[in-house]
């Protein structure tokens, strides 16, 4: 066994897992606050990446303007989605809301294909391109900087939601909606906030994912891996999203290196089934007690 190779692969896996963790965080935020399983998370990523593409490559805006513009634009889309599709379904069974996000994903893919065509495109480079060496191991610069961005944003989000008023309101809503209402928290606004922040985080990870692998209308497949991450970690657990992200990133990298590229998804899904059999609510998810 080649330990140096294993180390290199694991490093790459964990670094790309950082992006899964970021996207999973976006997912968990919506789930915790609103109990909506947003399967369109991959498509939101895609919209963020395409907006960035439009602002930087087509309108030729500088990076420091293009990235915030893309992120804000996606956040706006998040607010729009929440108001038009999610809020009318408050109190409906979870499957209905889940299917609405399935439909939403389809609409977004169609819109992207219509506006930007289905061709694969490249995002402008904005990350340094010197190779990164960790000891003996080589790490692709884009993957490394992607992981750094992910870590920065995850840390920022965790801090903001620990200390900012809006963040406290969101956590209060997540833990008990009725109690949050009764202490004067505007719960519907918290829902909007969760969707906006989640869409913005998705846009950030979309820009990074897109600049690593290029963008296309089938980019939403990334969302499928994110879905595996959150199910493995537990739908309502931030810790689960982070651990699950790194774990799935590692599993994918190892499966891809030792078994071949076509085994990547298979390996993650087998891990998913195995974990669901042992812990049906994910590694760190809340085990809900049912009462009649």
């Amino acid at each position: 066994m080649d330990w140096a190779f294993l180390f290199e692969i694991s490093l790459t896996g964990i670094a790309s897992g950082g992006l899964y963790a970021l996207a999973a965080l976006a997912f968990v935020m919506v789930y915790k606050a609103t109990r909506v399983v947003n399967i369109a998370i991959g498509e939101l990523l895609m919209v963020g990446a395409y907006l960035f593409f439009t602002f930087s490559a087509m309108f030729a805006l500088p990076l420091w303007l293009a990235i915030p513009a893309a992120v804000l634009g996606t956040g706006l889309l998040g607010a729009l989605i929440e108001r038009t599709m999610i809020r009318p379904l408050l109190g409906e069974p979870p499957i209905s809301v889940f299917m609405v996000t399935v439909g939403l994903g389809s609409v977004l893919v169609g819109l992207v294909e219509m506006i930007w065509t289905a061709d694969q495109r490249r995002l402008p480079d904005f990350m340094p391109s010197q190779p990164i060496m960790v000891g003996e191991a080589f790490l692709a610069p884009k993957v490394f900087w992607g992981a750094v961005i992910a870590v920065v944003f995850i840390a920022a989000v965790l801090l903001v939601f620990r200390f900012w008023r809006g963040g406290v309101a969101l956590r209060a809503t997540a833990s008990d909606q009725a109690a949050a209402y009764s202490v004067g928290i505007n719960v519907p606004r918290v829902f909007s906030l969760a969707w906006v922040v989640s869409a913005m985080l998705a846009a950030v990870s979309g820009i990074v994912v897109g600049s690593i692998g290029g963008i296309s209308s089938s980019m939403g497949v990334f969302g499928l891996s994110v879905l595996v991450v959150v199910i493995v970690g537990g739908l309502d657990s931030v810790l689960g999203a982070l651990v699950g992200g790194l774990f799935i990133g590692l599993v994918e990298a190892l499966a891809g290196a030792y078994l071949g590229g076509e085994y990547k998804l298979l390996a993650t899904f087998i891990v998913l089934v195995a974990i669901l059999m042992v812990r049906p609510y994910g590694l760190f998810g809340t085990h809900e007690i049912e009462r009649l």
Binding site: F98, G103, S106, G110, A118, V273, P280
Partner: protein, 345 residues
Amino acid sequence: MRIGTLKETYTADAALFDSQTQKAWLAVAAALLVLFPFMASDYWLYLACLVAINVASATGLNILTGYTGLVSLGQAAFMGLGAYTVAIMQTHWDTPFWLNLLAAGGVAMLGGIVVGIPSLRVKGLYLAIATIAASFIAHFLFANLAITGGTGGLSMRPASLFGVALDTSFRLYWLIVPVTVLMLLGAANLFRTRIGRAFIAIRDRDISAEVLGIPLLRYKLLSFGLSSFYAGVAGGLWAYFFRVVTPESFPLLMSIFFLAAIIVGGMGSILGGILGAVFMTMVPELLKLVFDLLPNSAELVVFLSPVRTIVFGLLIIGFLVFEPHGLAEMWRRIRRFFHLWPFRN
């Protein structure tokens, strides 16, 4: 105007078709189904066969999702199991088509039961994701096993009935539509039996159902099995219809299509499954017709596929937001209007 429905016996109350009017209309529908192939063009016959296959599979999913409340995104994978069973049996052993179709149902049923095993512990959307996992594993097996012909898939000869090769839409119609009608009758009757009622009890509240003495594991597995049997037979028909089976024929999108069909049609209603599958299969074709009518259709044709994707999504969203009970509910409203006319309902 029809006032109320007076029933004096339990048999009358549990009857499949409850009124004379309904029976008359069903007879008309049956006659139309028989006459249709003699009047329609090849294109419409092709569509009719496709619709019938989708109706069969959507009805299967309706048994599982609409009646038992277990959300599954693996219906396409079970269809794939059925289609591959038919293709393998025909190319290797040259068995008659009815045996192949039954075997397709059986194999898919076994697959469904295996996938359903987690359903006792895993609930709701966790289960839906687990079925996505199953469909990816199935796709992997189709693409990598020796017997399934790899990524190239399998191509097969047409089915033959009394020495006649079923190779045109007109001939296949007489295989596909009767099988579908038979399966629909089976599904409609299922919910007049103990098993079907147990399914509904599980959907409404599974713990209460268990308290009432319904063994959850057995009935949930049975529901998975029956639903996959439907998918398997539909997949077998699909194989006879297209005669090429590849791993890419049954993508996750197809499972989403069936879930969308029963949502648009109306979950937990046989009529809903039929209406939904017909509607969702026809919409892309209607869009194509509309596009052909547009003045500069040659330039706009690149937009056809994205528009289809968008309309597909909007239909799901629109129905869930504005008509959560689907087309079946609209149909009931229209019927009620005529029943109560000239009064307002």
